[in-house]
């Protein structure tokens, strides 16, 4: 028996998704008799004139049954002699694309329905694109309603051409086409008498037999930490789910982002102690020495993982409110949640043609490649390399809505020199008795190097540790500021207007509008001294996320 298969059905409105699944469940005798009775009863008042309306099995919300459409994804569970299945039946309306994406993120295989009369539609292309974006690798195009085109092979071949083009464009691997009729049952669970020209498997038999196991060639172990387990002072274990590879007692692991190494002292799989654990298992791992690891950190062995604080990702925008650049979000990836800013929308992707479009905002159900700047270094990787460390959501900080989902395309590798050791910003702040801030001085009028030097002198007299940074053209100012911040310094940044505009990371430690009233140098120094005053407020991670 093959393993569990999670699949979705998608495609345009009225392509017969719910009907198809309903038919599989009904034919396979997978319904309890009371469900079957309810179905036959419901069908009497339905649109099929008393014949069984299989879609009623899936559309469970009152509004769905009233309107005869699918609004949200429905999950169904069934088992045949060969395999267990979970199917997510997704809505076809464009308006509910985000609910379709929910189903796609859950599935290993997509059954995309195409109405034989209509051929490939915009919505077919949109769904195929989203499935591919969310990481689905196996596709079945079920050419439905063959009964309504007289089971015509020529029509099927025309659509086959359209699908081939789409397949090429989206670079889909593992594609299968099957001519079916969901209402009449042709090639759904039984081979069709009406489609003699098709010799392949029925849909159900194809789903029962397809092998979706990845070739597991010696992949490195990694585990995002969900929580630290400390029942008493003798036990400190890191709990999480192993995302890839395996781990043995005695293995040397690297902790990220702290970049320390330690050996595995013990492993629990659930509540049982074990010498080894593998991909997918929930574990508690004890290490042989103290390391700086908390929720959101990652344990790894030979997984060549990186840390970064800026990434490029393809986003599916799901909120009613438009995305504008500069908007602040909570960013969740793996088990890490931190503040982030969408710093730019590089380009949107036309769901129909795949063409790149320049846009300034992004509307609901649109896809775009964006740059995202994070408040701190996190462990992150490209979706295609380490899936779990490349999946993200953006949460609106006011409404708490899950506004977007996306996959990491690339990470900004310029920053790999940035590591924060045990002497972190908090420790440095305490040692120096000051908070690291950056104060922006834009060269104009009386503001010049001499002025800033006066400010610096006044600050030094008050005991502040400062650094006057006047970058030359083409320097990575953001990166240098980050380094200076980590050193715990008060940075006096002297730039021209053009340089100032290139700085992306202007967080709460970045002061730019201090000079509205034209203060003198010693007044400015007083102001900065106040802004950088040390407060020994301990930032608990809870507050931070």
């Amino acid at each position: 028996m093959s393993g569990l298969l999670k699949f979705i059905t998608c495609g345009s409105v009225d392509d017969g998704k719910s009907t198809l699944i309903g038919h599989i469940l009904y034919d396979s005798k997978l319904l309890y008799t009371d469900q079957e009775k309810a179905l036959e009863l419901d069908s009497k008042v339905g649109s099929r004139g008393g014949a069984i309306d299989y879609s009623l099995l899936l559309d469970g919300l009152m509004a769905e049954r009233e309107q005869g459409i699918t609004i949200d994804v429905a999950y169904r569970y069934f088992t045949t002699d060969k395999r267990s299945f979970i199917v997510a039946d997704t809505p076809g309306h464009e308006e509910y694309t985000r609910n379709m994406a929910v189903g796609a993120s859950f599935a290993d295989l997509a059954v995309i329905l195409i109405d034989a009369k209509q051929g490939v539609l915009v919505q077919t292309r949109r769904h195929a694109r989203i499935c591919s974006l969310m990481g689905i690798k196996y596709f079945v195009f079920a050419i439905n309603k063959m009964d309504l085109v007289g089971y015509d092979e020529k029509r099927f071949r025309e659509i086959e051409k359209q699908v081939e083009e789409l397949t090429k464009e989206l670079q889909l691997a593992n594609v299968k086409l099957i001519p079916v009729s969901a209402t009449e049952g042709d090639n759904v669970t039984k081979p069709s008498e009406n489609i003699k020209w098709y010799q392949g498997e029925t849909l159900l038999s194809y789903l029962e037999n397809i092998d979706i196991t990845e070739d597991d060639h010696e992949k490195g172990f990694y585990m995002p930490v969900q929580r630290v387990c400390r029942p008493d002072h003798t036990f400190r274990g890191f709990q999480g789910q192993i995302e890839d590879g395996q781990i043995h007692v005695g293995d040397e692991v690297t902790t990220l982002p702290s970049n320390e190494t330690a050996k595995v002292k013990s492993i629990h799989v659930g509540d049982k102690e074990s010498q080894v654990a593998k991909k997918g298992q929930p574990v508690t791992i004890q290490l042989d020495r103290e390391v700086d690891v908390s929720r959101g950190c990652v344990l790894s062995v030979d997984a060549s993982l990186l840390t970064a604080s800026s990434i490029t990702a393809t986003l599916l925008w799901m909120d009613d409110e438009e995305l504008r650049t500069g908007k602040n979000f909570f960013f969740k990836l793996g088990t890490k949640m931190i503040p982030a800013v969408v710093s730019s929308i590089e380009y949107a992707i036309d769901v129909n043609t795949g063409a790149k479009k320049e846009v300034s905002t992004l509307g609901k159900n649109e896809i775009a490649v964006c740059k995202i700047t994070l408040a701190d270094q996190i462990v992150v990787d490209e979706f295609k390399k380490h899936k779990t460390l490349g999946e993200l959501i953006l949460i609106d900080r006011i409404t708490n809505m899950t506004s977007a989902c996306g996959v990491v395309e690339s990470i900004d590798t310029k920053e790999h020199g940035l590591y924060e050791g045990r002497i972190d910003r908090k420790v440095r702040a305490a040692m120096k008795g000051q908070k690291a801030v950056t104060v922006e001085f834009i060269k104009e009028g009386t503001i010049d190097r001499a002025f800033v030097e006066d400010v610096e002198k006044a600050l030094s007299l008050q005991g502040r540790h400062t650094y006057l940074y006047a970058p030359t053209p083409n320097e990575d100012i953001d990166l240098v500021i980050k380094h200076l911040h980590r050193a715990g310094l008060v940075v006096l940044l002297l730039v021209d207007k053009k340089q100032a505009d290139t700085i992306t990371n202007k967080d709460e430690h970045y002061i730019s509008d201090w000079n509205k009233t034209g203060l003198a140098a010693n007044e400015v120094a007083k102001f900065i001294a106040k802004e950088s005053a040390y407060s020994d407020i301990f930032v608990h991670e809870r507050d931070y996320i």
């Binding site: 469900q35 419901d42 009152m62 979970i86 029942p231 997918g280 088990t335 779990t388 989902c405």
Partner: protein, 299 residues
């Protein structure tokens, strides 16, 4: 090493969800209704945090009409496992004499839904685990694993937050809450097979035994105490019955059975001809009745 089995995958998913809630939510609670699904959920919670105890309390909303044996089982298990078990009863409803015989749907609303809301408000819980499964009922099949509830504890099925991969969004504002369903993707068969594999203790009401019952409206109702009022023509019979779900005894239909072992129960379940919720009297009221109650705050 091979792939995980189907049950291992479901177990891993549930433990992941339970840990996420403990790590991200301010004040979680696990609803405990004493049934088989609750027993599985409790077992998973014990596993998820081992060697620590679950870092949240358990809550039983007691309608005062539960089978006596359920309450004994609850108290004994809580003591054995060393977990904090809270009980909440809607005392106002008790005072008004609300009961399942005379008050029908109002009884469920007052003693279950209202009681649950009162309990959540009283303790200020921000996240509540429930043992609901998507294969139980059509509106449940549509619900997210992290299901957001507004300040009135209400569910808005037409505007659920997207839930992508396993990146659960637990963010809420003051007075709002999330209901979390770690067993969403389990079927009834999975639950039974897991109970057998893990040797999880469940109340003996699930096993067939000769019990005093009456036949009423096509259901077999157990006479658990003398509050059970017999209708004209009804008589108490002694039959070998068991229960597929546990709830308030006057509202829980049993089935005639001789299954006294887990294996026999699983055999019966696998060959069952009616889905388990038909033995719950409240779900049969009207199409969409579960969705309506969930919108009002029911689990």
């Amino acid at each position: 090493m091979g792939e995980l089995s189907h049950l291992d995958e479901l177990e891993a998913e549930a433990i992941y969800i339970i840990r996420e809630v403990a790590a991200e939510c301010e004040k979680p609670v696990m609803l405990y209704s004493i049934g088989k699904d609750s027993s599985v959920m409790l077992h998973l919670a014990m596993k998820a945090f081992y060697p620590e105890k679950p870092p949240f309390p358990f809550l039983h909303v007691n309608t005062t009409w539960k089978f006596k044996e359920m309450i004994e089982f609850r108290d004994r298990r809580a003591k054995e496992l060393g977990i904090e078990m809270l009980e909440y009863i809607n005392e106002e409803g008790v005072k008004q004499g609300i009961n399942p015989f005379d008050h029908g749907a109002a009884y469920t609303d007052i003693m279950k839904t209202q009681a649950l809301k009162q309990a959540l408000d009283k303790y200020g819980f921000t996240a509540a685990f429930g043992g609901g499964r998507r294969d139980e009922e059509k509106s449940r099949a549509k619900e997210r694993i992290f299901s957001f509830r507004n300040e009135h504890h209400a569910w808005d099925p037409k505007n659920q937050r997207p839930e992508m991969w396993k990146l659960y969004n637990s963010k809420i504002n003051k007075k709002e809450e999330v209901r979390v369903f770690p067993l969403s993707n389990w079927t009834e068969t999975d639950i039974w097979q897991y109970i057998r594999r893990e040797n999880i203790e469940i109340p003996s009401l699930y096993f067939a035994k000769v019990r005093p019952v009456v036949y009423r409206d096509g259901n077999i109702i157990m006479v658990d105490d003398d509050r059970m009022k017999l209708l004209p023509g009804e008589k108490v019979e002694h039959k070998s019955v068991r229960f597929r779900t546990l709830g308030c005894y006057p509202l829980t239909g049993g089935c005639e059975s001789t299954a006294t072992t887990l294996d026999e129960i699983i055999d019966e379940t696998l060959s069952a001809v009616s889905s388990e919720r038909t033995t719950r009297v409240i779900d049969n009221e009207a199409a969409g009745s579960m969705e309506r109650r969930k919108r009002e705050g029911y689990f």
